[in-house]
Amino acid sequence: MGHPHPGEDATVPGRGAAAPLEGIAAASEGAAAASEGAAVSVKGAEVAPDEPEPGAGGPVSADAEAAPQEPAQAVARGRRPRWPGPARALTLVLLAALGFGGVVAARSADPSFGRATADPDRLAASLAAVGARDRSLAAREGRLRQAGTGAAPPATGVTPPATGAPPSAPGGAVRSEAAQLAVLAGTVPVSGPGVELTIRDPHRSVDASVLVDALQELRDAGAEAIEIAGVRAVVTTYVADDPGRGLIVDGTSVSPPYALRVVGDAHTLDQALRIPGGVLDTVAARDGAQASVRTFGKLEIRSLRPTPSPRYARPAG
């Protein structure tokens, strides 16, 4: 670790000669040796001043004379020879490396680049934020597509609210959209990849909030159809406590173990449930409760909902 201190120069012999201009090779090695006495406990330091070869500015020989800079600085004040070529090039390379390293460090410190070192809770939070953003963008994409191409169905799994397709829409598109809405409304059986979450709760310590959280987590993770203990979950689904017996899901009393069958990207759903501080951890923190997840390449949800028939709301526009 070396750097110039103003006071140190005066203590070093060999100083005081006029400093040669940088870039001029003044060839008087002897003066450098006088200042060697100030070099502190660095082996090989005594070799450095006698190096005659022009390549001495390179990093290898620089290591050999790894003396603190205080005496070396004084040497420079004396009549130390200079090899402006390679040494100056090395200086410039080091400065460029500093700039480069600074940029890299700044980018690494940027929270949006935080990766493996971030703790799981923050990762979970950012995952949730990304998921929310993804869904809002997908919904927006759906709206824009509808606005742009009439009744063309949205490309994503997220279907915008059923504001009614324009009558001029092609029949195929309308049927496809109707099928998607039927999946969302829970009026048709569905099958696809997914997971099954089983919550065993012998002491009735899992309350409705756990299941609501689980439902939310699954939706965040892109669940497209959910069945809670035999009840098809849709947008209006609620979960309430039924003290002493278990839970009430959409008016149906259910008791543990609760099986949640979910169709969606199995890996994503699995990860969403297992995330630290997530559903599995929450359940495990309850007295005697246990949760397990199994993934399925193909899973069927057969429970249905009656077709909703709104009495008041009519598609506008």
Binding site: P4, E22, A62, V75, A76, R80, G99, V104, S108
Partner: protein, 110 residues
Amino acid sequence: MIAVLALVLGVVVGLVLGPTAPAWLDPYLPVAVVAAVDAALGAARAGVEGTFDDREFAVSFLSDVTIAVLLVLLGELVGFGGALSTAVVVVLGIRIFASATALRRALSER
């Protein structure tokens, strides 16, 4: 002047290439950068005072960076965690201020 250009070139290359440091470098890179800034500022000061030498700059730059990184590594090995890197940054920060003061004084005396 050309030194500043080299620095700017490094920054530009960093921005253009946009690399991300591997994760294991995360604890060391900031300290290394601060040590390098210290060395560069010391060099600027030496340049203003007319005592700059390329070889000593190279030596002090490399050894400062190496020692700073080794200290942080040592801190992690013996279980200080980030404490030793904080210490290194504080010391380097003091030195940077000292260099900056000397630089300013040298410039104002001109």
